[in-house]
């Protein structure tokens, strides 16, 4: 599996963020997108996720599931956690598993991996920011999608949480997955660096 972008141009609000961007990432490989604030790291992830339309260029995934579009094979972990405070931890996770569909793992196992197994019946409103992030990670584990698009994934996670997350990313790469992460802090795993925008 090979994810590649050729000559991508991104325009937002009439302003060109970046142009002529090329990147490549293969199965089992992690790409760390770095650059100063406003250089378009989040925009690049959202372009790959199909949440923005590129002003030029093309992004394609070779060797994936031919039946599915690229966004349908991506997990997007953004700044917002996509959790409903009124629903319990369990309900939040099973909703996304049911709605996103496809191959799915054991929800309870994912919850215990991220350290939320004893809070399953509690409303998500009671979770701290770090715990909400952990619950989002459980979504990545429960629903199997090969491409992970992570935007500042370690924010709000404590040291132990970051360690846990590094383990999860390694497992994902070992299974032949692919990670593209926008980050300021070191990702904690071996990753090729993709610098966008002018150097800081």
């Amino acid at each position: 599996m090979q994810l590649s972008g050729r000559g991508i141009r991104c325009v937002r609000g009439g302003r060109e963020i970046f142009a002529g961007l090329d990147f490549e990432a293969a199965s089992g490989e992690a790409l760390a997108v770095v650059g100063r604030n406003g250089s378009g790291k989040t925009s690049l992830l959202r372009l790959i996720a199909g949440l923005l339309v590129p002003a030029g260029g093309a992004i394609e995934l070779a060797g994936g599931d031919g039946e599915l579009t690229l966004p349908e094979q991506c997990h997007y972990l953004g700044h917002r956690d996509a959790l409903k405070p009124a629903l319990s931890v369990q309900e939040n996770l099973t909703f996304w598993a049911d709605f996103l569909g496809g191959e799915r793992g054991d929800a309870n196992l994912s919850l215990s991996t991220v350290g939320l197994d004893h809070a399953t019946h509690l409303p998500a409103a009671f979770l701290s920011a770090g715990q909400r992030r952990r619950l989002s990670l459980a979504r990545l584990l429960t629903i199997r999608r090969p491409v992970w698009l992570l935007d500042e994934p370690t924010t709000a996670l404590d040291t132990a949480g970051q360690d846990m997350f590094c383990g999860l990313m390694r497992d994902h790469l070992a299974r032949g997955g692919l990670i593209i992460a926008a980050t300021h802090a070191p990702l904690g795993i071996d990753a090729r660096e993709l610098r966008i925008g002018r150097p800081a």
Binding site: L51, A82, K84, P85, W96, F99, L100, G101
Partner: protein, 222 residues
């Protein structure tokens, strides 16, 4: 289908729990209807003549004012991004969300109609007619209003702007809904014709609403 079922179940559940606003719509409906006699006077004959119009206006405002958060809440917490990236076409997801909204906020209005009919001195037949026309017409209001809710996300503005955008679109529903109710109560026009048109309006909105809302959401992504 499990995906759409899960979406409907989730939205109804959130609407009925603490913090959800499903029943506030009914309360709003009740308040609007109770206000009317203070404006037009307590004359029961006059009220029973205006009854269908008052109930329809109340239901129209109640179902539209609860709509503006339909997509906004999902947009604010990032759920809308994931819904867009799912294997379910965005049009169907929009339709499922509108259906869930109608179940949680529209259906209670129809259940409340007989009580309000009592306040407006409508007899059994008239109340039944209004409830039936609301049952046929409120889905059209929800599915048309959904377009406004989607535009509200695109424009980052909700509330009154949405009402201004959507209220003109709901005029046909109002015309034929009140016409069908009045046909039963005072005659002499037949009930069938306006009621069929009302049902047709609902069916058309089932198609146009989700398509327009999904198109608007896609263009509003950022």
């Amino acid at each position: 289908m499990t995906a759409l079922g899960a979406l409907i179940r989730r939205d109804v559940r959130i609407a009925l729990r603490v913090g959800g606003g499903a029943l506030i719509g009914v309360l709003f409906f009740l308040t609007v209807v109770v206000l009317m006699p203070f404006a037009v006077g307590p004359d029961l004959n006059l009220l029973s003549r205006l009854g269908p119009a008052i109930l329809w206006l109340g239901a129209l405002l109640a179902s539209l004012l609860t709509l503006d958060r339909l997509f906004m809440a999902d947009h604010d917490d990032g759920s809308l991004d994931l819904i867009t990236m799912s294997r379910t076409p965005l049009e169907l997801a929009c339709a499922a969300k509108a259906l869930a909204h109608w179940l949680a906020a529209g259906l209670p209005l129809i259940v409340a109609t007989p009580v309000l009919g009592l306040l407006l001195n409508l007899d059994m037949v008239a109340t039944g007619a209004v409830a039936l026309t609301l049952l046929a017409g409120t889905p059209a209001l929800t599915f048309t209003g959904m377009i406004g809710a989607a535009l509200a996300v695109t424009l980052h503005r909700g509330g009154l702007l949405m009402a201004v955008l959507v209220l003109p679109l709901s005029i046909p529903v109002l015309i034929f809904g009140v016409a069908a109710s009045n046909a039963v109560i005072v005659g002499p026009t037949p009930f069938g014709a306006p009621f069929s048109i009302l049902c047709a309006l609902s069916l058309v909105s089932f198609v146009i609403g989700p398509l327009a809302a999904a198109a608007s959401l896609r263009h509003g992504l950022d």
